[in-house]
Symmetry: C2
Subunit: 528 residues, 2 copies
Amino acid sequence: MNGKNIVASTYVEVSEKSLQAVNPATGLTLEGDFFKASERLVDEALRAATTAFYTYRNLNKDVKAAFLNAIADEIGNLGEELVNRASAESGLPLARLQGELGRTTGQLRLFANVVAEGSWVDAIIDTALPERQPLPRADIRRMLIPIGPVVVFGASNFPLAFSVAGGDTASALASGCPVVVKAHPAHYGTSALVGGAIIRAAEKTGMPKGVFSLLYDDGYNIGAALVQHPLTKAVTFTGSFKGGMALVNLAQQREQPIPVFAEMGSINPVIFLPQTIEKQAEELAKKYAGSITLGAGQFCTNPGLLLAVQSPGLDKFKTVLKEAIAAVPSATMLTEGIAGNYGKLSSAITNEVGVEVIAVSDLNNNELKNQSKAKIAQVSAADFIRNPKLREEIFGPYSLLVVADDVAELEKAIDVLEGQLTVTLMAEKQELQHYQELVNKLTDKTGRIILNGVPTGVEVCAAMQHGGPFPATNDSRFTSVGSTAINRFARPLAYQDWEQDLLPDELKDGNPLGIFRTINQKLTKSHE
Amino acid sequence: MNGKNIVASTYVEVSEKSLQAVNPATGLTLEGDFFKASERLVDEALRAATTAFYTYRNLNKDVKAAFLNAIADEIGNLGEELVNRASAESGLPLARLQGELGRTTGQLRLFANVVAEGSWVDAIIDTALPERQPLPRADIRRMLIPIGPVVVFGASNFPLAFSVAGGDTASALASGCPVVVKAHPAHYGTSALVGGAIIRAAEKTGMPKGVFSLLYDDGYNIGAALVQHPLTKAVTFTGSFKGGMALVNLAQQREQPIPVFAEMGSINPVIFLPQTIEKQAEELAKKYAGSITLGAGQFCTNPGLLLAVQSPGLDKFKTVLKEAIAAVPSATMLTEGIAGNYGKLSSAITNEVGVEVIAVSDLNNNELKNQSKAKIAQVSAADFIRNPKLREEIFGPYSLLVVADDVAELEKAIDVLEGQLTVTLMAEKQELQHYQELVNKLTDKTGRIILNGVPTGVEVCAAMQHGGPFPATNDSRFTSVGSTAINRFARPLAYQDWEQDLLPDELKDGNPLGIFRTINQKLTKSHE
């Protein structure tokens, strides 16, 4: 395994300080030396990315698509080696990582298709009206163009799908932007394997070298230098509120502010309407015991808040939930820091007024380190409304059940919620019709609203929205999952009275690329 | 003329302090008393806007379109009264304001059409795949929804088209967002007339009252309070860099940061390639004398920078430009402050190393106040490259001619340019082909690139992009002119496994609105 930093698709000489990866389940050091990057490497990576940008952005769309598909191929070829390493570094089970590998290559191929199809550039053409009175109209043609080098921060909780070649990298490369990745310190080896796959793919498909760089650091300096570098044009991040806002603030303080897309987590409220819980108490309890503890609860869409009205059905729900949670074995968390934080916060929460634990995992893997035990706490809606602390995310297999006296009080509890990635309603159709105003209000607090499902499991598709009102993300107008994530890295450019031959193909008469375009206010694929 | 503040479509009681409008050409006070708003009115306006939002956003698209058309009708009905008042307050000629009135009502009707057509919500539907392995896919449907109350700052230089019912208000209302306008202090009376038109239109079409408010202030307090109010969800501004960045920073410091769309001006470089200036020196000089002095140069797309290579053709260009500029009469500027600033900056520029004045207006309207005299300065490319001060905007009928020794030096001068609203190339086809790399680089610095035209005159159409890289605007991904300006006020919301009957019409099976939608990756208007 080559743990050297990658600058412009090339392994660079080794610095003095080497870093090691740790298996969180055993605490043991894993094979491989990785090397702390320097500010000089940050500068070299961004300069190379900028040079590459002028070539890469103008490559034919099919060539860019071939690059993305080649990355998927190379990552797929790593197969077991990659999955085993990711599992050893993250503590996540092999089966989960096999699924995540499929998701990662699937994402790359999805963006390859988006680029190859080509209509994502949203071409709009208004042809000249030379005879118009009082003034003629010029010929104006507009399309999306890439913004330049993108810095991607790998996320700890998806070592494949949200990391070196995850959705951020795939969508940035698809848009025509070079990428510089800051590897997450929780999975150096996984990062190195995937980084190697990308440079092989870049070489095979003849990409300019600066299209990809990968830098390691166990602290914050390299990340900060990447965000502050004047040639960086955008930043993506998935992680904590504190980490995300630190990057947002750094980016805002630059001489030239740049967009940061920070997905900062969410408590993903689930609202159980009365009839539904009355009828399906047992089934819902089992379903949610599974969703809350999936992947040790380390999902940004983990349901951290359950809201319901007191009733015999809810009592039954609690009884079944208690049994189901008790039977969930403890699980290895991603890092010592995350496990320590979970232990601390999930214990301290019972010091808050009115909070009591109603379910806790009974099965401990004593032989393993960094274990999290699933836990459900309960509080009255009145106490919940009074205490903003109860609305903060506790990252891990934890959820808080808020019990209201009636639906009116439930609505008041909903009123105090901040922006969320998801809101889920467990409701019968008549209930939804009855509470239309509540639903209307909820749409204002979330990026995705789910009916009778669970928020975990974020489908990678065109219609997905993974990004909600602040503080779930810092810009709810964009998504970090799904094909429209490509729009984060593009801006419109209008050509006025430009020469046909010199226009980009996307805007030429005759539509040589055969894409959808809006011509004089009509959407068409016409070649005329 | 009713100069009371409008809160929730209602004139509110008068505060103690009254404000007067001034005719900048005469310095005389104009008819009408206007009233400084208070923080209490800011709060009332935003609360009313928030309440109205839940009703307004859910109105049928044809009803919203009718409201926009009714505003256009009411403003059109004001006719002469409005144009006369706007001219008296701004010093702009009647003919220009007649044109601007047409543009303003045209914009409102354009957005009415966008809303009524309906496809702008970018509906994307991925239907369920219950049999998919290893996991089924849920039904996911996403569309753009409005973000909430928008604060619009009126701009001084377009008292109609970028003010109370200008493009920002029209696009925000079109998206489904209520609007609170801060009237520009340079045209209180124009603002009051247009505000009255909007509330008549709102009443005639049965809008919720909070959909529109209009507040006056002669200072910064009300503007700051509007940006800081927790219920404000977005802000639009057109004006100076300093003013724009002050609002951006206020918005960023909020507990919940919100987007500000600040169009902060630009020097709009015009690059004359050698063959072109050789062949068309005289014609180009006349064309640009007109563009630079149009509207006393008070356009965000005013060509403030001309770049060329020294040559006999350029000498001829300068001779003709000098004559043409000399013949341009002085013109009344929008305000005493703007005129004072223009006089100061256009004089001080000659203190910079190597800068000399090569053309100046010879005709002064001595009987009028706040007059601006057109002026062209010249500097070598070498001095231009060394001195960042020469890249700052001087708002008014001023332009700086940068003379390079050769095209290589011209390219170096282009390298130091910051982001721009427009870049214009005056070039023959063969020249463009020869300098492809230069063109490639230029596209990276601008939102609109023009061939053999002038940047002034921003067409309001679907393909227009009026927004460029920083510091031209603070977010180059959006435009403030043209139909895609509506996207500034919307964010995606995804519905997962939602009930058909309870989905918005835009996302229902059968496509009841007949809009374009992307269904399982195919763009279609199908009703199936």
